[in-house]
């Protein structure tokens, strides 16, 4: 049996893996949705775009759902506090996601151009709005969230929805939206040809550049003395979790502390650039598969940067810092973490294997001719 402290760290890594899985898999078809109205100029082209992800979007979306459930199971306090605190942001994400399953499946079942155009914009909303809000919500974890716990550990959020929209949060929204759109554009370039492909490549060059600039700007913002959080009491990582059992202080530049202590960690934000820059170059020289790999590495770098900067914090509280949620004190019981660890260890490789097989079976370009000859069965 693994000890409690080790399992707590493993689960921090596993949530990271699931979020990365979401960005790499669901991220590219959200990017495709965002680009749909712009790279497809007529009905056949749009159907080409939709059918590149047609067989896969549903499986990919499960990364998102599983990440949510894993947070519920492994970090119940984070799930409870974040979902109820970010009530309206969560509902907007949820309602935007509504447009994806129905958009994909229903769009081409009626021939009326107004019907189809409406669903195309629905898929645009379903791809772009969640991508934007994820960045906004994620950066609020860096900035701290106004919440506290009552004596019985009932989380109470004291902020507002509009308070979410500050300049740094919007910058982070640009990072996440451009990152997923870049990734989606690289995917589209692999799976299409002709006009759609060349438009997708242009989109990759634009959004890849935006992502790198915005990510660098966010880095400058954080390193120019942005306040971070530090635990000031002695922590017993193996203790039973109780978030009220510690003291926390807000200090300028604290989010750079982990990098100062462990300089190797600079490799994580480095991966954002080491993946993103070559990805841009590969898009330029028309090597879309390598560009896709590069944008996936960039996602690892961007998500990982937020994670390692904040460790062990997951969700700091700006209004009552000792209520902050950390890797040590917002987790499930030892037994639950252990059971879930084995479940993840067994099933994640199986999922990755059959997902890979599914992509292999459906590999190849989606062409205008394919759409025309499969008018009744394609999306």
């Amino acid at each position: 049996m693994l000890d409690y402290e080790t399992l707590k760290i493993i689960w921090w890594l596993l949530v990271g893996v699931l979020l990365l899985g979401f960005a790499v898999m669901d991220g590219h078809d959200m990017g495709v949705g965002t680009l749909l109205p712009f790279v497809g100029k007529n009905d056949v082209e749009r159907r080409v775009v939709i059918n590149t992800v047609g067989p896969h979007w549903d499986g990919n979306q499960v990364w998102f759902i599983t990440a949510g459930c894993a947070i519920f199971a492994a970090w119940p306090l984070v799930y409870a506090t974040a979902f109820s605190g970010f009530y309206w942001a969560m509902l907007v994400v949820l309602w935007a996601l509504f447009f994806r399953p129905v958009g994909f499946d229903y769009r081409s079942k009626v021939a009326d151009p107004r019907w189809r155009s409406a669903w195309d914009w629905g898929l645009f909303v379903g791809g772009s709005v969640p991508a934007l809000i994820f960045g906004v919500a994620f950066v609020h974890l860096l900035q701290g969230v106004p919440f506290h716990f009552e004596d019985n550990l009932m989380p109470v959020y004291t902020g507002t929805f509009w308070g979410l929209l500050n300049p740094f949060a919007l910058l982070a929204g640009v990072v996440s939206l451009s990152m997923l759109t870049f990734h989606g554009a690289n995917y589209l370039t692999i799976r299409t040809e002709g006009d759609v492909q060349s438009r997708a490549r242009t989109a990759a060059l634009i959004f890849g550049t935006v992502m790198l600039v915005a990510f660098a700007a966010a880095g400058v913002w954080v390193s120019s003395g942005m306040p971070g959080y530090v635990i000031t009491s002695v922590v017993d990582p193996g203790a039973l979790p109780n978030p009220l059992d510690k003291t926390v202080e807000i200090q300028a530049g604290a989010w750079l502390g982990n990098f100062a202590r462990h300089p190797l960690l600079w490799a994580v934000p480095g991966a954002g650039f080491a993946g993103g820059l070559p990805a841009l170059l590969f898009a330029w020289v028309k090597k879309p598969v390598l560009a896709f790999v590069g944008s996936a590495v960039a996602e690892l770098g961007v998500i990982g940067t937020a994670g390692v900067a904040m460790f062990p914090f997951i969700m700091p509280s700006s209004s009552d810092p000792r209520s902050s949620l950390t890797v040590w004190d917002s987790v499930s019981s030892h037994l639950t973490l252990e059971v879930m660890f084995w479940a993840a260890l067994i099933f994640t490789p199986i999922v990755i294997t059959y997902t890979g097989w599914a992509y292999k079976m459906m590999a190849g370009k989606v062409t205008n001719a394919y759409i025309e000859s499969n008018d009744h069965s394609a999306y």
Partner: protein, 523 residues
């Protein structure tokens, strides 16, 4: 500040979105296996018509599946957004089956459903058939884990309360998985899904036969649906009985309410076939009873007594009094002012902690609870009788009527005379919507019957919500109403459109209307 209005609105929103979600789940569960059966016949016989059947019913399956996925995400979000305290208090146990569901089942059916639709020309016949089975197995495995989570809400085994972390924690994963409440619920729920899927195919096929179109296609579909539906309807009833047996063990309050049994009767108790329950006077009028039936069904013995509502309330009073001790000890433990005697007293009374928490609805400080409050809380520990009584009886009556329809359909399809029995075909058409009503009634009995708890005996509903404002709740309710109404209109429109088009929607050129000018009006 959590007001009663916040609790009521949160319940309304959860109930509405859960009922809505379950409009799409049973058809997914049932139709996926029917598709697998049809495709098996195709692979075994090589007859193209069976491939067309799989594709056509698959198209309708897809229209339904899209909304199942859409509305399922709502359920996952809502525990966190609207039931934050619940999520904290029981996430340690409740979250695990949901996460495993994602990893083990949801990935499986969602990945392969794409290949089901798009892989017809890319995969060999056998491989495609394998995909179809994996999709069906995946969606049914999903139901296993969801019902393990739900079964734990009904019968919280394998867990205990920890005052350090202030929540319930898992003590045995095995007990959670093999919870008898979950097992019985699973088989009952998926069988109900198979009945729904069968009724869907049976009814639409009957409609084609009544219209005199696509006869070969409709006959073959009808036969498969009749056979599968017959077996499923039988299993719903048998396993529903198993589910009833489980109810009596774990939730006597649910049973007493749905039977309208105010007083404990000498064993074996009679089954009330009809009555008009009166929650105010605490009695039934116009009763028709079948002697001994309930006692025998529910306890499977002739001498085990089933407690009536009066007796259950008296027991609740005792547990609430113990619970007050537990709540007070817990408060001292949390404030770290407890001595060893308090700790011991907490351990002694903690099984009744939830009953003490029931009083939080009436007073913030439970040690100030008056005898009237205790009596009130005990009375409210039994769900209202009339809604339980009626929804249960409607569900059961529908279940038996489905069995009759499928038995006759199966009989006449064995004799191959069903296409002449127009009364049977009409019956199948008109009965099409009813399995959905039966399913929703069943969920009402299960979940309304669990009140006033979210986790039976552990966590009262009143303490389970998030600290959000009434305005936020009205806003989100309005949003759900807007989106869900729109989505339902679109879904029904497509479902009717494609059911009317029939197999001609595949564009093979082999089916009714594809060459005739009459097609235009059908579209």
């Amino acid at each position: 500040m959590i007001t009663q209005e916040v609790v009521d609105l949160s319940r309304l929103q959860f109930a509405a979105t859960a009922f809505y979600h379950f409009l799409f789940v049973p058809l997914t569960l049932g139709l996926s296996f029917l598709l697998a059966i049809m495709e098996t016949v195709y692979v075994m016989t090589g007859k193209e018509i069976y491939r067309d059947m799989t594709k056509f019913w698959g198209k309708l399956f897809g229209i339904n599946f899209a909304l199942g996925v859409t509305t399922g995400i709502t359920m996952e979000f809502q525990f966190g957004t609207n039931w934050a305290y619940y999520s904290h208090y029981v996430g340690d146990i409740f979250g695990a089956p949901l996460a495993i569901e994602g990893l083990m089942a949801f990935f499986l059916d969602s990945t392969f459903i794409g290949l089901f639709f798009f892989g017809w020309n890319k995969l060999s016949r056998r491989r495609h058939l394998l995909i179809t089975y994996l999709t069906a197995i995946g969606s049914n495995l999903s139901a296993v884990w969801i019902l393990i989570a739900n079964g734990w809400m009904q019968n919280p085994v394998g867990s205990q309360f920890s005052y350090v972390t202030m929540r319930m924690e898992m003590t045995s994963f095995k007990e959670l998985v093999f919870n008898p409440a979950a097992q019985a619920k699973f088989v009952h729920t998926v069988s109900a899904g198979y009945v729904t899927g069968s009724m869907f195919v049976l009814g639409i096929s009957a409609w084609y036969m009544l219209k005199g179109r696509d006869i070969e296609f409709a006959k073959r579909s009808f036969r498969i649906a009749a056979a599968f539906g017959f077996a499923s309807a039988m299993s719903v009833i048998v396993l529903g009985d198993e589910s009833g047996y489980a109810v009596t063990e774990h939730q006597q309050t649910k049973l007493a309410a749905l039977e309208g049994m105010w007083k404990t009767e000498p064993a074996p108790a009679s089954f009330t076939l009809f009555a008009i329950p009166d929650d105010e006077k605490r009695e039934n009028t116009a009763e028709i009873k079948i002697p001994y039936a309930l006692g025998l069904i529910a306890t499977r013995s002739a001498n085990t007594q089933i407690p009536g509502i009066d007796e259950l309330e008296a027991r609740a009073v005792e547990r609430i009094k113990n619970g007050i001790v537990a709540v007070k000890a817990l408060e001292q433990l949390r404030a770290k002012t407890a001595d060893d005697a308090t700790k011991a007293s907490f351990e002694e009374h903690k099984a009744d902690l939830g009953y003490g928490l029931l009083l939080k609805k009436y007073t913030a400080d439970v040690s100030l609870a008056t005898p009237e409050m205790i009596a009130q809380a005990a009375r409210n520990s039994i769900p209202k009788v009339a809604p339980m009584f009626w929804t249960f009886r409607i569900m059961v009556a529908l279940g038996f009527s489905f069995f009759a329809l499928f038995a006759l359909s199966f009989w006449y399809s064995a004799k191959n005379t069903f296409q002449e029995k127009r009364w049977l075909l009409r019956w199948a058409v008109w009965f099409n919507p009813l399995p959905w009503i039966a399913s929703e009634m069943g969920w009402f009995v299960a979940e309304y019957g669990r009140q006033p708890w979210t986790i039976f005996g552990i966590l009262p509903t009143n303490l389970s919500t998030s600290t959000i404002s009434v305005n936020s709740l009205y806003g989100s309710l309005a949003g759900f109403m807007f989106f869900y109404t729109g989505l339902l209109v679109v879904e029904m429109y497509l479902m009717f459109k494609y059911a009317r088009l029939g197999p001609s929607s595949l564009g093979t050129g082999r089916y009714a209307g594809e060459t005739a000018p009459a097609l235009k009006s059908a579209q």
